[in-house]
């Protein structure tokens, strides 16, 4: 049960973060080059992502025994989640600029205005390919989380449905706002998702080590699923400590401005 709640929360938050980034790209293309090509690119990416999710999810769930699956997806989630946590710690410590959706939008619109006209299959090829690539690359991260969480919790449909719901929420919000969703606290959300990915990854990867025992049963944590909130709390404490220690270790004056952007010395 705990795994299912965690699955829904982690997938929803991760999907919101990635969908906001994808929306910025699609909006930049739509507003500068035309909505038809931007939506065509988005639709093509969505079809590719759905096919990828179905194929990879089926393959993982069918070919691997339970403990091997836990070990594989746990290790992948852990490595992937620790990347998110690493960036969150560096941002929290003022050693890496925070992600800024307005700046990303300005960069994308400038690139779209600078690109020459090119029409293929009746579509603005620049808007189509940039939207396709942007949505696909952001979407692969969502798919990865959907597959790993979904297969481990034996609930790929719930994971996929949650991701789709998050994408729809972001698209609707973007439609009404008609601008990038820069007010979504992306950096905080990324930190939260990183904590969830690392905690569930730790739980499943260690449990999956049971594949090396004679009977092949999962290694049991004390308290079973209740170990997950404890792991989340532990990862939170570790990362807060790192956020405090890292700037001191960098041995330089903090040149990060109030919005997290590094200022000139």
């Amino acid at each position: 049960m705990g795994a299912t709640y965690g699955l829904v929360v982690a997938v929803f938050l991760a999907s919101v973060v990635e969908a906001v980034e994808a929306l910025t790209i699609v909006m930049a293309m739509g507003m500068t080059r035309g909505w038809r090509s931007a939506w065509a690119g988005t639709a093509a990416a969505a079809v590719a992502l759905a096919a990828f999710t179905a194929a990879a999810g089926y393959a993982l769930a069918t070919w691997l025994p339970k403990t091997a699956l836990q070990l594989t997806v746990g290790a992948l989630l852990l490595v992937f989640g620790l990347q998110w946590l690493r960036k969150a710690v560096l941002r929290g410590a003022g050693l890496k600029p925070r992600h800024d959706e307005e700046a990303a939008f300005a960069e994308q619109t400038a690139a779209a205005r600078g690109a020459g006209p090119a029409t293929r299959l009746g579509l603005d090829w620049f808007a189509f390919t940039v939207s396709l690539k942007g949505v696909f690359l952001e979407g692969v991260e969502i798919v990865f989380i959907v597959i790993t969480f979904g297969t481990s919790a034996h609930d790929v449909p719930v994971a996929a449905g949650t991701a789709a719901a998050a994408a729809v929420c972001v698209a609707v919000a973007g439609f009404f706002a008609h601008r990038p969703l820069s007010r979504v606290p992306e950096n905080t959300l990324k930190y939260g998702v990183g904590l969830l990915l690392a905690s569930f990854g730790t739980y499943w990867a260690v449990a999956g080590l049971g594949v090396f025992t004679a009977d092949g049963t999962s290694l049991a944590w004390f308290g079973r699923d209740w170990a997950i909130p404890v792991l989340i709390a532990a990862w939170f404490v570790v990362t807060r400590l790192l956020i405090r220690i890292a700037p001191a270790l960098a041995r330089r004056p903090d040149r990060t401005g109030p919005n997290g952007i590094e200022e000139a010395p």
Binding site: L82, F212, V238, L249, A250, R252
Partner: protein, 76 residues
């Protein structure tokens, strides 16, 4: 040539996707899991305690790698 470039691009994408900016984090995770597998096979500790120990080792490994990276960046 085109196929080779595609394969290279595919491999580079997955490396960046899974391993990311700091390969040492992935290496520390794999090392701890290997230690866990060996300890489990050797019957070195009861399951519950081994799980706790491995969890702590994973956190310590991540912290050590991240701080090492910060310190090294500063020396550059």
């Amino acid at each position: 040539m085109t196929v080779l470039r595609l394969v290279k691009g595919f491999a580079r994408f997955w490396y960046a996707f899974l391993i990311g900016d700091d390969w040492k984090i992935a290496a520390s995770v794999v090392s701890v899991l290997l230690v866990g597998a060996v300890a489990l096979c050797a019957g070195a500790a009861p399951g519950g305690w081994l799980a706790v120990l491995l969890g702590l080792l994973l956190m310590a490994g991540f912290g050590a790698v991240l701080l090492l990276d910060v310190a090294r960046r500063n020396r550059r």
